[in-house]
């Protein structure tokens, strides 16, 4: 079962159109195993990328080196998934009690 321990989702906002190809270049680095939740298009739309733990340092440094602004949209993805599973289990338990 895949887990997402240490994965973060970064929100990247391009300052201008010159930064768009730099962000798009990240799509080519397959070793980083990035999962683009939203894709690069224009400066109006942020780009959200799920970044595995082993790639976080590289990606953040890449963005900082090129002066590309970003924020951490989801700090700990696995914690969020765990919470979701707990909610589902709790709901199933209460449904059993009810029936």
């Amino acid at each position: 079962k895949d887990t997402f321990e240490g994965h973060q989702v970064l929100r990247i906002v391009a300052k201008d159109v010159t930064q768009l190809p730099l962000i798009k270049d990240l799509e080519q680095f397959t070793d980083l195993q990035l999962d683009f939740w939203t894709y690069v298009n224009n400066v109006e739309n942020p780009v959200d990328i799920r970044v595995p733990a082993h790639s976080l340092q590289y990606v953040k440094r890449y963005l900082e080196t090129h002066g590309i602004g970003y924020s951490v949209m989801i700090e700990d993805l696995q914690a969020m998934v765990d919470e979701e599973q707990e909610q589902m289990k709790a709901a199933a338990r209460s449904a059993e009690v009810f029936s």
Partner: protein
């Protein structure tokens, strides 16, 4: 189905049981059609809401073609119940169903959906292996015969937007294609995704505006205004290529080219706080507000035959 917990996420079996129960409870309004099987052999179920007649003009809605977008399957389950609850009570829906049928595919990618529950919560694609690659699956919204293979899709099986080896190579896609063609009288086709809060119309594969762009834009504007009226949720609207990004091989581009004028794609909540992990307490408000936009589209299609 009154006791079904619409405010929580559910497994495929639970959703399929819900569908069967809804049919059993409403035999004069709801029936289930199996339009095909997924790669792993699961039924591709479509609920048909019909008050009679044969081959009436119809509206198609699919949810969950990108399996990880759980808010869509959850909202769709609520829509199904809403239709049976409101028929005969809500004048707008009743008027639509007195003239048209509604087809609802709640889980358009069941293999992927099961995989999100069992192996990888973030799975997006189908589950068909790719010859010559260790990477599995095709993006079922890049697999349609509309600019297939163009920009905005990947030729790499390991990419999340892999277009597949050929058009309609995925049984989940081919089943819808065959259904749309054999039905021949669909007047609206609405594919529901998440997230980022948008209502989109063709095209995604080309900058050439759709010939009905003005009408689609006007209807989208009204629909998102109605959606916003409930909780103030803000939506953007426009063509796919202008509003988000170039994407080739998408479903609504294909349906539009098939002559289905009212082809739309929704991107539901949120705008990126949770992404695909939208908390369950957001299901009901998301479904409720989306319903308002859907009803606006339904009514417009019903009142503007073509």
């Amino acid at each position: 189905t009154d006791s079904f917990d619409f405010s929580n996420y559910h497994t495929l079996n639970e959703i399929y049981s819900f569908q069967d129960q809804l049919v059993a409870e409403n035999p004069n309004l709801v029936s289930k059609i199996v339009i095909g099987q997924s790669y792993q052999g699961r039924d591709l179920n479509v609920l048909k809401f019909s008050t009679g007649g044969s081959n009436r003009p119809a509206i198609w809605i699919d949810t969950g073609i990108h399996s990880r977008e759980w808010i869509t399957q959850a909202s769709s389950t609520w829509f199904a119940k809403k239709i049976v609850t409101d028929y005969g009570r809500d004048p707008a829906l009743t008027a639509v169903l007195n003239q048209m049928d509604i087809f609802l595919e709640i889980v358009a990618n069941p293999d992927g959906f099961v995989y999100t529950h069992t192996n990888n919560r973030m799975w997006r694609k189908t589950r068909k292996p790719n010859t010559g690659s260790s990477c599995v699956g095709v993006d079922p919204n890049r697999n349609w015969d509309a600019g297939f293979g163009g920009a905005g899709a990947s030729s790499s099986p390991c990419n999340e937007s892999y277009r597949g080896p050929s058009v309609h190579s995925e049984p989940e896609v081919k089943a819808i294609v065959d259904f749309v063609k054999s039905h021949g009288n669909l007047k609206a086709f609405i594919s529901i995704h998440s997230y980022s809060q948008m209502l989109l119309y063709p095209y995604g594969y080309t900058y050439t505006p759709a010939k009905d762009k003005a009408a689609l834009d006007s209807l989208a504007k009204t629909a998102v205004a109605d959606l916003r009226s409930l909780y103030g949720t803000s939506y953007r609207y426009g063509s796919i290529i202008d509003t988000i990004y170039q994407a080739s091989g998408g479903s609504i581009d294909w349906t539009y080219n098939q002559g289905i004028k009212y082809s739309f794609a929704f991107e539901l909540r949120d705008t990126g706080r949770y992404g695909f992990n939208l908390p369950a307490n957001q299901i009901l408000p998301t479904a409720q507000e989306t319903w308002l936009a859907l009803l606006t589209i339904f009514s417009h299609v019903n009142n503007n035959p073509y």
